[in-house]
Amino acid sequence: MNKMLAAAAGLALSAIAVGAQGKTLVFCSEGSPEGFNPQLFTAGTTFDASSRQVYDGLVQFERGTTNIMPGLAESWTVSDDGLVYTFNLRKGVKFHSSEGFTPSRDFNADDVVFSFERQWKPDNPYHKVSGGTYEYFNGMSMPDLLKEIEKVDDYTVRFHLNRPEAPFIANLGMDFASILSAEYADAMLAAGTPEVIDLEPIGTGPFQFAAYQKDAVIRYQGFEDYWQGKPAIDKLVFSITPDASVRYAKLKAGECHVMPYPNPADLKAMADEADINLMQQEGLNVGYLAFNVEKKPFDNREVRQALNMAINKEAIIEAVFQGAGTVAKNPIPPTIWSYNEATVDYPYDPEKAKQMLADAGYPDGFETNIWAMPVQRPYNPNARRMAEMIQADWAKVGVKADIVTYEWGEYLKRSKDGEHDTVLLGWTGDNGDPDNFLAVLLGCDGVGGSNRARWCYQPFEDLIQQAKVVSDQAERTKLYEQAQLVFKEEAPWVTVAHSVVFKPIRKEVIDFRIDPFGGHPFYGVDLAE
């Protein structure tokens, strides 16, 4: 009978039915995942398909926020010196099963140890499986940070660190820190097919992986025994649809319920559509123009401030983002805790800018360059256009700038080496911790790396280093707020924009929340009957 109904629904045009087969939510995803193990990859598309549905971490982020809450660890304590983190693990957490594997035990400390040691220890039998390079684990400096992971008993794990690092807890909420089943890994290793665990994921998460047809569709089944309760939707389907206009057409036709990354040009029509709810939120990113402070005249703070004032940011947002962006005044986005509301941005004032340049010894301006990225990024959908607008603004105060661009890999490399005068770039946050922006992008260690301004300023450095070692969030917030003021005063960047993320969903979708990390976790989402 169910099949008959399904057939009828299939014939009755394309709309997806709720009812006969339980609730099926269809997500028109933008691309194919690189694989199904979040430890191995770095793309959001991969995390959406793996960690965000199938896996859990020791800690997790509260839905729709960057706040940390307990996950597979029920609670944890930090030693006074900040070097030892002890996690009490949750009992009775079930793993999924598949055709090839049925778990014989619940989640325990062995799974935690396995999940980290695979990425960390070259002698772990799984280290080399699936060509593992663990870019995120390495990128977050975990090998430098970790001293030892100790299994105290089945439900207690201790992480010993080499140095105190307050953002460590937030790192554990990230996708690469997903917990895989050690029992499954052992079984597959014994069977001589270790790579299977990366292709047919078994996790503790709300959705159980069912099938993947490359470039076409991924299917998940709601997990009955999920420790936070069975998901409200019975089936979850990712319908892979790379073209944004087609995703929109599918959403309108009712072939999917949620779509990511709409075309900016379609936003107006979406807002007017009766069946569609257009949600929006600032993205966890910042687009900036960095001055190379090691080069003249950008070593002069007055010059940097003047050039800040010479730029009409509002006009840039209007032209480049077409409404899908907001002016940035801080180097961290407003969705991150410790965002300083009190920061005052440089006003657009070409007259004053000209005056300041004259005061700084450049009455006739000077010649420089602006590097523009060759690719579209969420924090900058059209760098070339942005560079042209900045060029025009600067010309008005006498500064003549050439626009320079390279192939993307080359661009990243050369700007890392400091070949630029000024460079357009941006950053998307990883763990929702302010440290992930302020220390990575503006700290002294980042010079020659991700600190494109090559700005190493001791008063700022002291603040962010101090914030790394205290674990009290209120105290850290104060330090970061202060750091943002110092940053603004010193002006190593022009903070240009934060993107606004738009998420068109169908009206029947209940309680979908935009994830500040840009992901699409579907636990907690329901469909109206």
Binding site: K3, M4, A6, A7, A8, A9, G10, L11, L13, S14, I16, A17, Q21, T24, V26, S32, E34, G35, T42, S130, G131, T133, E135, N138, G139, A210, A211, Q213, K214, D215, A216, V217, R219, V237, S239, I240, T241, P242, D243, S245, V246, A249, K250, K252, A253, E255, C256, R377, Y406, E407, W408, G409, E410, L412, K413, L425, W427, T428, G449, S450
Partner: protein, 336 residues
């Protein structure tokens, strides 16, 4: 006939080498380092960068890389994708059935409409029908595929709701992959309605992909038929009092078909190229889309292997076509 065959086969070998060399050179000529692209803004430590390049075999001289690649090809090993780390052959084979399925349907669409339209236009030369066929096919030939696809989706799927927007089958059916051909797999699955859904999903992409070949075939058939209709033997056939059906169906068509078959063979290449756009619009999981993405990520083994395999298919199809008109036209097989 055997000599003819051997001669054709011998020509395949240099073509094959040309393809490997060309794709290898072209993809390595585009600037871009797969490791840097993977790392993005986050960056990567120089030592780690070197290590990864070594693992991918990118630190060796170009010539060695090429020889290594060719060596692998001869043993049937196309290497592993730098991104997914899976064998290129395996990735290709999972995706290729979808492309074949779509291309075949597009070809059937193009031939079943293009051939009769062309013949009729030739027979009724100068009439309104002839002019409209030619006008429509000229439009079809110059149609930008991407725009055409979106237009059809907006009209038939969104406005009228007659066909689904994209994909191969409705999200409602959980059809297992057996052959990779959705039409067959949906029949094999015991889910009622799955087959209908698969057919409905094929309609628009087939029309979009088949539009250009359709236009080319219609025009070619028309001009070839016109030429043949002027021949003396046609006049003779008519003079003998044969019915127009017989004259056209038997005498004219068989001779007019020779250039048409050549064109159909050449259209296979066009189809595979068009598949790249069509697959992107209709989210069709075929090799075209995969190749484009691989180029963007500088996934060298995937691009080299994928293009080589596609080229092989095109070369083979053209070989078959060559042989085919040897069969149809004895003059070709007997020429030295």
């Amino acid at each position: 006939m055997l000599q003819f065959l051997l001669k054709r086969l011998a020509l395949v070998i240099p073509a094959f080498f040309g393809v490997t060399l060309l794709t290898f050179a072209l993809i390595h000529l585009i600037p871009g380092d797969p490791v840097l692209l993977m790392a993005g803004e986050r960056g990567i430590a120089p030592e780690r960068h070197e290590e990864l390049r070594r693992e991918m075999g990118l630190d060796r001289p170009m010539v060695i890389q090429y020889l290594h690649y060719i060596g692998g090809v001869f043993q049937g090993d196309l290497g592993k994708s730098l991104i997914s780390k899976k064998p290129v052959m395996e990735e290709f084979l999972t995706l290729f059935p979808a492309t074949i399925e779509l291309s075949l349907c597009a070809m059937i669409f193009a031939v079943t409409i293009g051939l009769p339209a062309g013949i009729l236009a030739a027979v009724r030369r100068g009439t309104v029908f002839d002019h409209s066929v030619m006008a429509v096919s000229l439009t079809g030939y110059s149609m930008p595929i991407f725009w055409w696809g979106l237009l059809l989706i907006l009209l038939f799927s969104v406005q009228l709701g007659w066909t689904p927007v994209s994909g191969r089958i409705s999200a409602l059916y959980w059809v297992d992959t057996v052959t990779g051909f959705m039409l067959i797999d949906s029949l094999l699955s015991d889910e009622a309605g799955a087959f209908t859904s698969a057919v409905r999903h094929l309609i628009l992409p087939s029309i979009v992909l088949g539009t250009i070949p359709l236009a080319v075939i219609a025009r070619m058939t028309r001009s070839a038929t016109l030429e043949v209709l002027r021949e003396d033997y046609i006049r003779t056939a008519r003079a003998k009092g044969l019915s127009p059906m017989r004259v056209i169906g038997l005498h004219a068509l068989r001779n007019a078909l020779i250039p048409v078959i050549t064109v159909i063979g050449l259209q296979v290449g066009v189809l595979l190229a068009g598949a790249i756009l069509t697959e992107t619009i209709f989210a069709w999981p075929g090799v075209g889309k995969w190749l484009v993405e691989s180029i963007g990520r500088r996934d060298y083994p995937a691009v080299q292997g994928g293009i080589l395999l596609v080229a092989t298919v095109v070369i083979l199809v053209n070989l078959v076509v060559d042989i085919l008109y040897g069969v149809i036209n004895p003059r070709i097989r007997h020429t030295r």
